[in-house]
């Protein structure tokens, strides 16, 4: 089994009135596809965001620990944040900014509204690539390669998100997600808003690209079939208790 | 803070002149409209121009004798129809050039040039024939006819030929704000004031180094400025502010003889006012005593009242004032109503009807009068209202007054409240003569009465002072009955100067004639 990228232990997040997630624990490994599944409202997105240290509910994080072993197995990033409320979570957000978009990246759902309408795909890719440790010697060529990898024509680099179709936007979003050569890609229901055929294609592509780039994939999804087909590990969120399931 | 060049130079000059002489700041009623004597419009213009220019002849402020600073001697020539003038040597223009006979003749030619759009010139065209230079310092000024007092007729300010390209002098020339004269001060007109710097000359040696004119504003500000020595003088102190100043021992209130009187011109060629009876009724309806009390704050029987009633177009101190004609001090409603009914007006529901319609008077007033007599417009309106006349009242800006009212173009009004100011020569031809040719230039409602024209003719033709007097006494009597104007009062003019300003003799009308003698020491 490859090295663990994220070790979440007993994640508990509270909103003013109720508990949103309680005692969720799991590990995400590099080079594998981990699916985060559960009924809507089970806190899938919340958990994914927690993995990225983006917590914006009050009081928010009250229990649990988060480790990125590939970076430093001894650091618990939630240290001093638990029960610290908004301010502590804000500090965490600032402290971990350098990780987001580098160590792990995010591929949103309904990409056409998730991409900055004021930046061309090319610019967004450039910014993403800039997060790499070692910049490519030919930026143009690199962008072209990534675009090809997600099945987009080079001209897409000059296009603004508003000028792309839903499917193309989704591919672009994926391209932007993998461009920084992250250890882990977190994809939030990438198939949403796409027709069945396109949906399948996009997910396959997602898995394929992550494999090619040697990145782990944390896939948030409520489509059982998708999950069965592609997931190596499954994290089942049942409203309250979560556990890491066995191999598919 | 950037200021206009005039003020800049003023600032520098005052620095440069420290020690050599003092600088005085004073408030005028308004800014001079122009410093070009040919286009003098207001009293402020005349006063300011007196600082910059020399009039060929002028009246001494104390002895009242006819004098000249730039004429050394003169002879009557051509059997009294011309005057040979020998100029005072050494007189310099503010541009450094010397005064010569050319300048005298240029001024005369400018006055006679049809291209010079000046009402003043209009007047001189009736009197002057022409001018010839005889050498550098002698000029021969010719008249249209023989005058018994030719020098009296030559009161115009002399202009420098060198500053003009032609004898057609127009109001838009830079000369209007940066004039060149031979007077005691070199003047420049700025945006918020005018600045006058002393100019030593053979015939002038002003003790003051600089005079700065600022536009007057809220009376209380003037008073405060003066008492706090922010300013040294106020040329025209509004009556309401006089008590506060006379209470201060740092300030001296000085009365000066400005022959100016207030009137309400009646539109004699419109509606009921065309009827003499109606005009007489209005004259009786006005309670001058009340008006004076409310607007100027004078109680009846006030000993040193700044305001004396008049019954005709002259101030009571004038030789032309006809004391036989009584003034209406209090309203007499009964007689007024009787006259109105005789004139065919009828009263219904408290208001007068004329030819079946309610009578509404459109009343206008020269806006600047409000400073001297607060809300007089309202007061007069109220009195007419009580008398049973509806009204619509409007103030008229000074410039519109000059442009439309005095030119007889404001016929939409029925009553116009105004004020005339005169020098020693109280010639009312312009006000009351039928408007034609050069006559009746200031005839507000184009009033025309052959009898009046006749009398005015007599005055013009008069060869002796008594003849002139008789004519004007007759005129006074006629106007007091025919009433093209309701004559109100003479409001005496008071200046306030700080006591450090000494020897400041104020000349009637032109005010600054004796400025050379003024002194200022802290």
């Amino acid at each position: 089994m490859s090295e663990p990228l994220v070790v979440m232990d007993g994640l508990t997040i509270r909103a003013p009135t109720r508990t949103l997630v309680e005692g969720v624990s799991f590990t995400v490994h590099g080079g594998r596809v981990t699916a985060l599944v559960g009924p809507s409202g089970a806190g899938k997105s919340l958990t994914a965001r927690a993995v990225m240290c983006v917590l914006d509910v009050d009081p928010g994080l009250v229990g649990g620990s988060l480790r990125y072993p590939a970076l430093d197995p001894n650091v618990d990033w939630y240290e001093g944040v638990r029960g610290g409320g908004m301010s502590a979570q804000q500090r965490l957000l600032a402290r971990t900014r350098h990780l987001r978009g580098a160590y792990f990246t995010y591929s949103p759902q309904a990409a056409s509204s998730a991409l900055n309408p004021g930046r061309t795909i090319g610019r967004q890719l450039t910014m993403a690539i800039a997060r790499r440790q070692t910049p490519p010697d030919n930026l143009g060529a690199e962008i072209r390669r990534i675009l090809q990898q997600v099945g987009l024509q080079p001209w897409a680099a000059g296009a603004l998100p508003g000028e792309l179709s839903g499917g193309m936007a989704q591919r672009a979003a994926l391209a932007i997600a993998v461009a920084p050569k992250p250890r882990l890609v977190i994809a939030d229901e990438p198939e949403t808003g796409l027709d069945p055929v396109l949906r399948r294609a996009v997910v396959e592509l997602l898995v394929q690209v992550c494999k090619d780039e040697g990145a782990g994939l944390l896939l948030i999804s409520h489509h059982k079939d998708t999950v069965k087909r592609i997931a190596d590990d499954v994290i089942q969120l049942r409203g309250q208790h979560g556990e890491t399931g066995g191999t598919a | 803070m950037a200021r206009n060049p005039a003020w800049m130079s003023a600032g520098l000059a005052s620095l440069a002149l420290l020690g050599t002489g003092a600088s005085l700041s004073y408030y005028e009623e308004a800014l001079p409209t122009t410093l070009n004597p040919l286009f003098a419009d207001t009293m402020v213009d005349r006063r300011s121009q007196e600082l910059v220019f020399d009039r060929l002849w002028y009246h001494d402020a104390i002895t009242n004798e006819l004098k000249s600073r730039i004429v050394q001697r003169y002879e009557v020539a051509e059997g009294g129809q011309a005057l040979k003038i020998h100029l005072t040597p050494g007189v310099k223009w503010h541009n450094g050039k010397g005064l010569s006979s050319k300048d005298i003749c240029f001024t005369v030619d400018a006055l006679l040039d049809k291209g010079t759009p000046s009402p003043l010139a209009e007047g001189y065209r009736q009197i002057l024939e022409g001018c010839d230079t005889q050498g550098n310092s002698t000029a021969l000024v010719r008249f249209t006819r023989v005058f018994h007092n030719p020098r009296e007729r030559l009161g115009f300010a002399v202009l420098p030929a060198s500053e003009f390209s032609s004898t057609a002098v127009t109001p838009d020339l830079p000369f209007g704000s940066h004039p060149v004269g031979t007077g005691p001060f070199k003047g420049t007109k700025g945006r918020r004031g005018a600045n006058f710097e002393a100019f030593g000359n053979a015939h002038h040696g002003p003790a003051l180094a600089q005079l700065r004119l600022s536009e007057g504003q809220d009376g209380s500000i003037l008073v405060r400025a003066l008492i706090n020595n922010g300013m040294q003088g106020i040329v025209q102190v509004p009556p309401p502010n006089r008590p506060e100043l006379s209470a201060s021992d740092e300030v001296a209130l000085k009365s000066y003889d400005l022959r100016s009187w207030w009137f309400i011109a009646l539109n004699t060629n419109k509606g009921p006012l065309a009827d003499k009876k109606v005009r007489q009724a209005l004259n009786l309806m006005l309670d001058r005593t009340e008006l004076r009390k409310f607007a100027i704050g004078v109680e009846a029987g006030d000993e040193n009242s700044p305001c004396e009633f008049i019954s005709g177009p002259f101030v009571q101190s004038s030789p032309y004032y006809n004391r036989a004609v009584p003034v209406v001090e209090r309203a007499n409603m009964a007689r007024a109503e009787k006259l109105l009914t005789e004139a065919g007006l009828s009263k219904s529901g408290g208001s007068w009807m004329y030819k079946g319609a309610k009578v509404t008077f459109n009343i206008g007033m020269l806006a600047t009068l409000n400073a001297e007599a607060t809300d007089i417009l309202d007061q007069i309106g109220n009195q007419l209202g009580k008398g049973g006349f509806d009204r619509q009242v409007d103030k008229v800006r000074a410039d519109e007054w000059a442009r439309r009212v005095t030119t007889g173009n404001a016929q939409e009004f029925d009553l116009l409240i105004g004020k005339w100011s005169f020098g020693l020569v109280e010639d009312v031809n312009d006000q009351f003569h039928t408007r034609k040719g050069g006559e009746g230039k200031l005839n507000i409602f184009n009033y025309s009465n052959p009898e009046v024209d006749g009398i005015l003719g007599e005055y013009a033709a008069a060869r002796t002072d008594t003849a002139a007097q008789d004519a004007y006494h007759k005129l006074h009597k006629v106007l007091a009955t025919d009433l093209p104007y309701l004559f109100l009062w003479k409001l005496d003019s008071r200046s306030a100067w700080r006591t450090e300003v000494r020897n400041n003799i104020i000349a009637p009308y032109y005010y600054f004639t004796e400025i050379d003698g003024w002194k200022y020491s802290k």
Binding site: - | S220, I221, F294, Q392
Partner: protein, 273 residues
């Protein structure tokens, strides 16, 4: 303020107060009475006397009459313009939209006060009054109002919103007048109208003050009538030379506050649900 009724109540009362003031205004000020001059509210209720001993309420009322009609009319005009702007956008009339835009570019590009000043000073005597100036102001404010209303309609979904309603089989009247204007554009239209009304009142005060303070004839009303500016001028003298007219200053500021309060109230009332 979230509740609708309090806002409506307050603004209605304030507005009524202004109108009543305007209605009861005397045509001419009463006789001067120098014995009463400088007297405060105690001596001359309710507001005290002016420098001629005339009750200040007369000045206040006359001032209200001067501004009441023109300012309200200007407000209504701008309201109509705003509604038009919103409708044009939701009807998806491209040409009209771009025409409005072009109009707005030119009109919106000029400093309003400069335009007003020029108009005010060039008007012939018999045209003089607040109405032409208020009209000019309304015209100058129109493009902005239309633009904002259009933006709201845009956010509403513009033409798509209308299509959706058509699908419900609503009549055009019901769609445009009821749903678009009354339900959705109401807040912005009312706010724009109220604000322009207020601006015109303040414009009158400004112009009259500039005139009064140096004895010039007024641009906005016959000189037998007084404006709120005259009250404020007394107040100025109270401030500057501690002349005994503090009560005038209070009244003047109070009237300004009254107008501002009405504007806020009305806008809030329109916004609240």
């Amino acid at each position: 303020m979230t509740g609708r009724w309090p806002a409506i109540g307050v603004s209605a009362v304030l507005f009524a107060a202004l109108i009543v003031l305007a209605v009861i205004a005397p045509e001419f000020l009463s006789e001067a009475n120098l014995d009463l001059k400088e007297f405060g509210p105690a001596a001359v209720p309710p507001f005290g006397a002016d420098d001629r001993g005339r009750p200040l309420w007369e000045l206040a009322a006359q001032g209200a009459r001067v501004v009441a009609l023109p300012s309200v009319v200007a407000g209504l005009v701008v309201g109509l313009f705003a509604a038009a702007g919103g409708l044009i956008r939701s009807m998806d009339l491209r040409w009209a939209d771009s025409a409005v835009a072009a109009f707005g570019e030119v009109v919106g590009a000029l400093p309003r006060m400069v335009v007003i000043l020029i108009v005010a000073l060039l008007l012939p005597r018999d045209w003089r009054g607040l109405f032409p100036l208020a009209a000019t102001w309304a015209l100058l404010s129109a493009p902005g109002a239309m633009d904002e209303a259009a933006a709201v309609a845009e956010r509403l979904g513009g033409a798509r919103f209308v299509e959706a309603l058509r699908a419900h089989g609503y009549s055009s009247w019901r769609i445009f007048v009821v749903h678009v204007v009354a339900f959705n554009l109401r807040p912005v239209i009312v706010r724009q109208a109220a604000e322009v009304t207020m601006q015109v009142v303040f414009l009158e005060i400004s112009l009259s003050y500039l005139a009064t303070s140096n004895d010039d004839p007024s641009f906005t009303h016959p000189d037998s009538v007084r404006s709120w500016a005259d009250i404020l001028h007394l107040g100025y003298r109270a401030l500057a030379f501690d002349a005994p007219y503090m009560h005038a200053l209070v009244l003047g500021l109070g009237l300004v506050a009254l107008v501002a309060g009405t504007t806020i109230g009305i806008s809030r009332a329109a916004r609240a649900r």
